[in-house]
């Protein structure tokens, strides 16, 4: 609809701008916090830009933190040092406000420290001021971010290969081959979408336990190789729109079913394959309950679980590091979104919607 009057257009723009500001604010806050030194995350009123303060203590110009303001307007400043942690070892001074130099400067090292401490190292270990703990729990207390990333990528990529391949093969069987009993089996397939995960949770745990998969990444990607009801449905709908004449022509040329599937149908189905791959990636990257149930040791954690673990172990003060780690988990998804925006929109707005509709109105 087109707003008719200029006044109407102004209102629409005003609302759009205001609301998009509101929706972006949390993300800006995330970025802002992730680039601040710890004491600025806890300043009141909160500031949006990370700053660095310099002042002269003794005869040396140093980076300082503002401790508190005295009644006469001067500031008690403390030297800022990443290596000296205890307060009494740090140089202090009282300086007039005009003698403090302020610069806006993002603290990029938050990211380095967050990623280094995410696996359980202490900040001192990450800074290199204390030697890393070697043995004992060794492997479990200090896992690097790289391990979490690798685990997540294994789950995502193997899962994508499995989901795309298996669902395409299965959907071909449902869409293009008229076998007896097909409709009944397909109805059962759709009905399984109604089953909530908690119903399956406990027996699935039992299945994976008897396979010896608990504590490994296998429960998170192997099932993808055996199809999923929704993706089968999505691909079946797409395959049915491909004219039967193409298959017939190939058949006359002597192709068997597999060759028709592999050489004719699959190359024509790239859009739906992309949708399935993209949504599987998103789902696997975000999945929290699966890893929580099936992963037991830290060196097998995925990023989602590792992030939660980091928060619950590092406690509630290291907000700048938590936000930095969160952003690192978010960023690949946002980049992917901008790279694959068309696939996204197609996935949700058209295929996804129509698919869900039809599945709800089976009768």
């Amino acid at each position: 609809m087109q707003p008719r009057t200029r006044f109407g257009r102004c209102i629409v723009y005003g609302l759009l701008l205001g609301l998009s500001g509101l929706f972006l604010l949390p993300l800006l806050w995330l970025v802002s916090t992730s680039l601040k030194p710890i004491e600025q995350t806890m300043s009141l009123p909160p500031t949006w830009l990370p700053r660095v303060y310099y002042a002269t203590i003794g005869d040396q110009r140093r980076e300082v933190t503002l401790d508190h303001q005295l009644p006469d307007g001067r500031w008690q400043v403390i030297e800022r040092s990443p290596t000296k942690m205890r307060t009494h070892a740090l140089a202090q001074a009282i300086v007039p406000a005009s003698a403090i130099e302020v610069r806006v400067k993002p603290r990029w090292e938050n990211y380095r420290i967050a990623l280094a401490t995410m696996g359980g190292r202490s900040i001192e270990e990450a800074e290199g001021t204390v030697a890393a703990r070697q043995t004992g729990y060794g492997r479990d207390t200090a896992v690097s971010f790289g391990t979490f990333l690798r685990n997540t990528l294994i789950v995502c990529l193997l899962g994508i290969v499995g989901a795309v391949l298996s669902n395409a093969i299965i959907a071909y069987g449902f869409a293009k081959i008229p076998w007896r009993g097909r409709e009944a089996v397909f109805a059962v397939t759709l009905a399984t979408m109604m089953i909530p995960f908690p119903v399956l949770m406990v027996p699935l745990y039992g299945v994976f336990k008897s396979l010896g998969w608990i504590g490994t990444l296998k429960p998170l990607w192997v099932p993808a190789f055996f199809g999923g009801a929704f993706n089968i449905f999505l691909m079946r709908q797409f395959f049915r729109t491909i004219p039967e004449e193409l298959s017939e022509a190939a058949r006359i040329d002597g192709c068997n079913e597999w060759q028709i599937f592999w050489r004719i149908i699959l190359p024509l189905s790239k859009p739906v394959l992309a949708v399935v791959a993209l949504f599987h990636f998103l789902w696997a990257w975000n999945d929290f309950l699966g890893p929580l149930l099936f992963l037991t040791r830290k060196h097998t954690f995925t990023l989602a679980l590792a992030l939660q673990n980091y928060q619950s172990q590092a406690g509630g003060v290291q907000w700048h590091h938590l936000m930095a780690a969160s952003l690192v988990v978010i960023l690949p998804i946002i980049v992917l979104f901008f790279l694959a925006q068309k696939t996204f929109i197609r996935g949700i707005a058209t295929t996804g919607l129509r698919a869900c509709f039809k599945s709800l109105n089976l009768s």
Partner: protein, 299 residues
């Protein structure tokens, strides 16, 4: 059966073979086993011992079960209507033809793809009672009325509203579905209504709403199913499955999880899962019956 039919059957079964394994191993067996366990004493460490309807009877007297159900329903009543209204309003705004629309659509959609654990982390920080962004923004307004800002996730009364508020940030998905519904409404209907003298409000009430009623219905059902099973965000934000503070966020899925995997009372957990399943089916049926006459399918 002709040879052709036999060949089709063989090929069809071969192509669908992976699904038969998957369906059997990861769905059919778990469903049957779960139903069986729900009548048993079972922990994954020992084999199940038949206990009849004991689990279900115990549920009726379990105060935590009822509390978790109550918490979940309150949360659903807070988040579901608010979410539907916000999603529809945003979709209506995005459906106007003004310039820059793709940018706005992207901005509103973006939060819904943020990984759940990460957005939970972010909102934990925003809700922080002392240094959080939200309370800082609210402070000047509340000060006018002499009120103190709530402690949000630290306060049993405000924890559920906080979670519902946060869920509004992620309405992008249902917004896009609403938007697709709005864009499918034929323009001629609006033109006809206008010729008949219908104003903006009546066009919305008598044209837009009936035409997008299938979308509303779909979002309602998905919303019910989703809000009854809310788990990950709450688990992350309240530091585990015990529903802190003071069990005010002990939701159904959290209690089910802690019963099954902390207490290892997996038979009871399965019974709870089946009650949830039945509840979802019942609510879906009720919602369908209530909206049946108002949901209008164009084709």
């Amino acid at each position: 059966m002709t040879t052709r039919e036999k060949r089709h059957l063989r090929n069809g079964l071969l192509f669908c073979a992976p699904w038969f394994i998957g369906l059997g191993l990861f769905t059919a067996y778990p469903v049957v086993a779960s139903l069986f366990y729900s009548f048993c004493d079972y922990s994954v460490l020992q084999s199940p011992v038949w206990s009849g309807t004991e689990n279900y009877r115990r549920m009726a007297g379990d105060t935590l079960f009822w509390l978790s159900l109550k918490n979940t329903i309150i949360y659903a009543l807070l988040s579901l209507p608010a979410g539907m209204i916000v999603a529809l309003s945003l979709a209506l705004l995005l459906n106007t033809e003004v310039r820059g629309m793709p940018v706005f659509r992207t901005i509103f959609y973006l939060p819904s793809i943020v990984p759940m654990v990460a957005s939970a982390m972010l909102w934990l920080w925003i809700f922080n009672g002392q240094f959080g962004l939200l309370n800082w923004a609210l402070l000047p307004i509340l000060d006018l009325f002499g009120l103190k800002p709530p402690g949000w996730l630290g306060d049993p009364t405000w924890a559920k509203p906080a979670l519902a508020l946060m869920s509004l940030w992620g309405v992008g998905n249902s917004m896009v579905i609403h938007l697709a519904g709005l864009q499918n409404v034929p323009k001629e209907l609006y033109e006809a209504a206008e010729i008949d003298g219908a104003g903006t409000w009546r066009r919305f009430w008598h044209v837009t709403l009936p035409m997008i009623s299938p979308v509303l219905y779909f979002n309602l059902i998905m919303g019910i199913i989703g809000s009854l099973q809310v788990f990950a965000t709450v688990f992350v934000m309240t530091g585990g499955a015990d529903g802190a503070p003071a069990r005010s966020t002990l939701f159904y899925a959290l209690y089910l999880f802690s019963v099954s995997f902390y207490d290892l009372r997996m038979g009871y957990g399965c019974a709870m899962a089946w009650v949830l399943f039945i509840l979802i089916v019942a609510l879906t049926v009720v919602a369908t019956k209530l909206t049946e006459k108002r949901v209008h399918y164009a084709t």
